[in-house]
Chain length 284, copies 2
Amino acid sequence: VIEPLSSSNKYQVGPTSRQLPVGVFDSGLGGLTVVQQLFKQLPWESIIYFGDTARVPYGSKSVDTVRKYAIQIVRFLEARGVKLLVIACNTVSSVALEVVAEAAQVPVIGVIEPGALAAAAVTRNHKVGVIGTTATIRSGAYEKALQQLASHLIVLSTACPLFVPLVEEGWLDHPVTEQVAREYLQPVLQQGIDTLILGCTHYPLLKTILHKVAGNGLRIVDTAIETARQVKAHLGTLRLFSPQQSHPQHFFYVSDFPQKFEEVAARFLGEPLSNVTHISVENY
Amino acid sequence: VIEPLSSSNKYQVGPTSRQLPVGVFDSGLGGLTVVQQLFKQLPWESIIYFGDTARVPYGSKSVDTVRKYAIQIVRFLEARGVKLLVIACNTVSSVALEVVAEAAQVPVIGVIEPGALAAAAVTRNHKVGVIGTTATIRSGAYEKALQQLASHLIVLSTACPLFVPLVEEGWLDHPVTEQVAREYLQPVLQQGIDTLILGCTHYPLLKTILHKVAGNGLRIVDTAIETARQVKAHLGTLRLFSPQQSHPQHFFYVSDFPQKFEEVAARFLGEPLSNVTHISVENY
């Protein structure tokens, strides 16, 4: 939902905006897989991250509740000052992207479209699988995005509600996780998909086990990587790259106690975190 | 935290109070196992239930956040009018019972003490196991309660964070759940416990699989049953039983969309539910 540049006078873009951080948010920890890719692909950009750890998970909540929470977070991040917003959460991207884009003063990128674009590009037999939380799958957001890109695609999707708790338990290479993955994936694999979209920001941590279950022939689309690519492309188009000589700053905010977040965050980010601040966004 | 009757002038008990419902709350669905037992043991009592489904789960949240949420719920239930409050949630009972009892105008019963009492009474070898969410186990609430009752008890506790998602997925009799149960229980079973407290209101639905893993010799303490017994005992002591000829009413409130709650609630309650109302308690 990036508006074309010609009609983008909604956005106040100038030399000052370039210095501002990219705002990234998620219902909890998962969005850190996107942050990790932003660090990698855009090392000069400052990042401000918000994880709604007090109200996680969103995946089992209603559309109205998720939208209300998302708008509160957007107001908080815009009050802090950002030049672009990344919804690093499949559930929010699925059910609230339009609402967030409407409310925001800056361009907004979700994770659905980048994932769908990559899948449509890599599939050879035009059968694409999608896995995600109950809310993401029920929304049909990936199906819609894929059909709009290439109406001949066959999309097979299935909800995997146990994957997030298994990742947060740290059972990344555990026989139980493998058995759960087999159970969840069997129906879509039987249909002969050659591409699988990881429609949840927690799932990149399960790549090894998913390859084990599905075979190395399956093309796995990591929406974290694809979303970071889109952020880079859009910052380029909008001429909003941070000056490369600048010293990037990384801010992390959570709505619950920071300590637990810091502990698990290292697993997602691949590096330790310590400067996490608690903030309540309920009244934004 | 029922105060002795002699000093209980804090509570305004009279004929009108007897007609009021018993207030029951939980972070989500789990408390319905307590409601089911209240229906069974106290068929004449009206019940008002609140499930904080928009902010579930509490088990991974900080003490401060859980306390804040609990107080909001108590204010809502007291505004609706209740004669006694049941914290049908192990996490809240573990970390917020004192705070809730302090804030409430009516007596408050949690699930920890009833479970500990029953376990201390049934164990023969004085080795008691406790399973629960990360927050409940980390709080040490059952250890404290058991040690106060009988200081010679050996208490072995372990967190089982995957049990709640497995129950909510409906995998009550699934090989994966059995494998997870084996993994979680093995260390405490190896220590020779003869009694196991189900320190989470979701766990009564796993009784069959837990017996399969642990053998039928293990005494399983169902805190839902024990809590309902305590409610009955206290209503008797406080002379707050509802008149038996009255027509009991059951009210269900949730903070998220009622539909999903109604679907899963049937599994917990053993009967269908339809009169569920949405309410936001954030501003109470």
